[in-house]
Symmetry: C2
Amino acid sequence: MSVPKNQIAITVEDYLKQASLRVNAALERHLPSETEAPADLHRAVRYSTFAGGKRLRPALAMASFEACHGIGDSVLLAACALEMTHTFSLIHDDLPSMDNDDFRRGRPTNHKVFGEAIAILAGDSLLVYAFELLAKSGRPECIATLARALGTKGMLGGQVVDIQSEGKKVGLETVNYIHNHKTAALIEASLVMGAQLAGADEEVIAGLGAFGNRIGLAFQIVDDVLDLEQTTEALGKDAGSDLAKGKATYPAVVGIAASKDMARQLIDEAKLELRKLPIQGGTLELIADYIITRVH
Amino acid sequence: MSVPKNQIAITVEDYLKQASLRVNAALERHLPSETEAPADLHRAVRYSTFAGGKRLRPALAMASFEACHGIGDSVLLAACALEMTHTFSLIHDDLPSMDNDDFRRGRPTNHKVFGEAIAILAGDSLLVYAFELLAKSGRPECIATLARALGTKGMLGGQVVDIQSEGKKVGLETVNYIHNHKTAALIEASLVMGAQLAGADEEVIAGLGAFGNRIGLAFQIVDDVLDLEQTTEALGKDAGSDLAKGKATYPAVVGIAASKDMARQLIDEAKLELRKLPIQGGTLELIADYIITRVH
């Protein structure tokens, strides 16, 4: 990609790294310290928030905001809220009554360290903080977007069907439902919220949502494939655990080769959606390519 | 209380009953039906939402809104959000890893009927719905009020200390901390949100918050006393269960007589706060009296 004279070329890895540093600094400012009461709860909240996540959702919100010529720091509120709600979902998903996972990102899961009660409350706390932060943006439509993405017809609905499908033989329709709701909805919301905070018009917001939905689904398919192809060390969690648990995944339903084709096709569709829009989508396109080529 | 010619006199019981009917109708409209997918999740959400709660928090928000001459239906959004978050807290508090309660309001608790995973997700869903609804009010300050009341320095913080204090000998300071955070914070928020939605000025909002804090604390003290003095049948849950679990309560720390005195004093203080304000506080005063005289 050629770079206009007034712009600086950076790699997508550098962009993601910089976005991650910015959101980490903002999370650090917005979350209570470990010494504030109740200390155990704040320790648990911080343990999972600062566990080395990729900060993909915050980076997408920022890139969407920038693509729509957003000005100022308001997108950091959305970036933090997205990462907080993502972390909330991981903590609750890992619980004994859900996926019962002992490791996440190479470390013991929240409930293994702090116990189940504190883990549930730490997840609840992150969800509440996300909305408290977003309220500071003064943009109720942005709060509505996040809530819809998380609700019973979004992420939480996907989690229910995921749990209920474990160990059962399910078809592509069910896997699509689970991944669209459990993963793609929040990634789609990341793009939409960035555009809303930039004051983009409805057409651009809808187009970025469509882009987000496709890269979100592709992201989850790649995740399913990596779970089968990568080592436990590279993943930071047990490789092949989806298979062992009888999880509803794309590779389980259509096989690895078809899954990879599907992910590639979704990324192509996403880029087509993006190119229709009157915005500077270069960074978003690079992140879409990164999603399909990443190895962990 | 004398009634001006242009007003209608109703008892506090009738007021609470009417408020309850209004909020129930609004909750019915705002929550997905049991037939919508994922049906199990929506059934679990509705099971605990429509379990015969008193709807005290919604009634307080409405009475606060009316006292501040609020116009329109926006307070119903806050009323529903308050009841949803209250229900969320009850579902999570009852979980095996928390209070491990089998009964609530005379019926099996959510996790006993739907299993632990769905119960956790139903609680999460109600929390998310509350913020989605409040976003419709277009009042970010109202969202911030609710989030602060629920967060780690509000209800969730109180719940952590409550769990950690179980079976331990604690002093009045700890019981104050638990009840102020776990119960009074959300009741205080009910009053504040009603006033915010009515467009009241800062002084009135602060005064109603002070009123709410005191009646909230009194409400919890009365609850602690009722747990000891009432039958299981009247309470709809095991009487004496606080004592059996070694819960940190006012009667356990200062005795029943001193607890009753303290509740009475808090209600008197609350009324003094209320009378300072340039609002029509008649209904709120009656609710304050109801809190201290209720028997279940």
